[in-house]
Symmetry: C3
Subunit: 280 residues, 3 copies
């Protein structure tokens, strides 16, 4: 694996070309000076992760990896939400084939971000429950705006977060804290998240969050990028390997679970609550 990785990384040559591109639901902007790419999720009002957003996210990550950017910052175009997680509307009252596609693309988006050889950071400029937290914890660093919420609250929906989905979460939290939070479906306030290590810094504005993320990526300036990438991947290799082993079965488990009447009912209740909250 070492060798193929080396080759892949080494092969990534060619002239630098900074550009700003937009897919349907994400956009990428590369800072000409720092070489850092900002990937913005842009599906108002709450960046619910439907199949399109997940596919666009992968395409943007791929683009950033191939354009020789020095790092990737993930953020949101929505004013108060980083990402509300999977689009329950797409999962509610649908067929198995659609459920299969949603979960497969969630897996694909996660592995693209979690396994990226680039330095990654999340500027969490709004709430990040469930799949929002998944993306944030797939990054290497997290800066969050005050008084937002973050966490894997799957149990509240009657969904079981599989091991791979917890990987990033478990990487940053002590096991004791993680087991309790996951069984409770706990959402941490920014301040609680900082205290436990779930986020690394607090910023008062989105701009400040982006700056702090850029500073983190800047901490690798004196580091050999090849050695950095391989060191990062070595850290994450076990989780990635475990994931690859079960990814197909995991899709079927999800489809079976999400199709259950009581889980569908849970989604219905969640959607109702979400509507109420968003009206506040």
């Amino acid at each position: 694996m070492l060798h193929s990785n080396l080759l892949r990384l080494v092969a990534r040559g060619g002239p630098k070309r900074w550009m700003s591109t937009t897919t349907k639901l994400t956009s990428v902007e590369v800072n000409d000076k720092t070489g850092i790419a900002t990937l913005t999720l842009n599906r108002p009002p709450v960046n619910s992760q439907n199949v399109q957003l997940l596919v666009d996210l992968q395409s943007s990550i791929g683009e950033i990896e191939s354009n020789k950017s020095r790092g990737l910052i993930l953020t949101s175009a929505c004013s108060n939400v980083f990402s509300a997680g999977l689009d329950i509307l797409e999962m509610y009252n649908t067929d198995e084939e659609r459920l299969r596609t949603i979960w497969t693309e969630l897996q694909n988006a996660w592995i693209a971000l979690y396994g990226s050889s680039l330095p990654t950071a999340a500027a969490i400029n709004g709430h990040a429950p469930a799949g929002g937290c998944l993306l944030a914890t797939a990054c290497e660093y997290r800066v969050m705006l005050p008084k937002r919420l973050i966490g894997l609250n799957e149990t509240q929906l009657g969904i079981i977060a599989p091991k791979w989905l917890m990987s990033g979460f478990l990487n940053v939290l002590p096991q004791r804290v993680a087991e309790r939070a996951l069984t409770q479906g706990r959402l941490f306030t920014t301040e609680e998240a900082l205290a436990e290590g779930l986020v690394d810094e607090i910023a008062n504005t989105k701009e400040e969050a982006l700056e702090k993320c850029a500073a983190f990526i800047g901490s690798f300036t004196k580091v050999n990028p090849l050695a950095r990438s391989l060191t990062k991947l070595q850290f994450r290799a076990e989780n990635i390997k475990e994931f690859e082993k079960i990814r197909k079965k995991d899709v079927e488990d999800f489809v079976a679970l999400a199709s259950r009447p009581e889980v569908q009912k849970g989604m219905g209740i969640y959607l109702e609550n979400l509507k109420k909250k968003s009206k506040k």
Copy 2:
């Protein structure tokens, strides 16, 4: 495993029946209002874990799991001791068959508690060395009275705590702290235990400890119980699997070790010290 678990959990229907029952050395009381069961260890003076207590404990856990309780609180009827751990008297100057039975029932009691699908909490109203700590750390939450002691002090007895016995301990402590504590056979004061995360809260009375445990179990009120159980088991599955692999060999290892003259001698010294302490 997912499916058989699902079925087992789903099958657990039937009308609610709260009751208070007593085996020889444990008792179960279910709060009619909260639906939370309190399991009390009742073998004065120090809840030494002999075969009878371990068998009764399993039977009480099984009863609580089948009576649709909302959670389980483990506590002690003894005034100053949660549990002193394995009954060294039963292990001292005995035959191999007895040692085999003791260790097998300790394993059975542990896996029943550690692998329980219910929310579990320990109201540690007294000292909890060795097997006492084992039971406390098999639960999901710990509330302890001040100025008591808790820890896995096996090395002081010349016994090696096997991996499964450390599982709960390792789940709640950082590896650095755990390795040091286990090699030293360290007993933590309540205050030290809180600082390291070995216990979660301090309570001044047993009643207050029970209330705090009930509050913890109450934190799952809005959570889907099926998703909660599967999430918990997923967290503990690896340890359980490892345990199942070695459980038979582990019994034989224990019997061989506990039969050694120097270990028997260590037990003798420990029993002497215990006598002195209990006279204070």
Copy 3:
């Protein structure tokens, strides 16, 4: 494994013989009163780990293990450096066979220290980057002088620290801290290291550091040494097993990597910087 370990440990009898011995680049002194051996690295000016030092270190560890010492304290004879890590001079502009030998002896020295059944502590009386940090984190306890630096800064050299080399580091740091530090090639100040748990205590002089290490080793006085050893090894067994599986391939990976022109160039730059620093 339990049994062969038991036998090996039990076999270690014979009359006590305290002595002070010196190999070419290390020395061993046993305190007659405490029975604790101090192993001093003595290759001025910075204890660069060349093949000779690594071989001598193994020989000294072996001697301490066989002379029934109660514990081992690792320290440095150099005034401001614990160990600067692998001797880059030996790795720079050399042949593959030499690279192979260097890495093999580094592996051998590490496993001798990491897997030692004795209580081990490091009196870190100076900077401990790279291989210096490796030796310090192979011990069970670390006391460090103020305002020194410690860490695995391999990525700054373009070298990838393999899993086994990180074992001790990962044993003492939370995963979040470890992944970031390793990708950044971060060197912690003594004070930062204490805050994160990378070192356990600060001492103002080398003598004080040695005393604190001796106090740590003294914490095992009441513990059964056989049980202590097996408990320690049980904790480290998984890392040791993983290491044994890959140790040969790991040597070849290192040789391939260290031979790469850009890595050789990185070493050249590092050597230049080191020269400048040492002139300050």
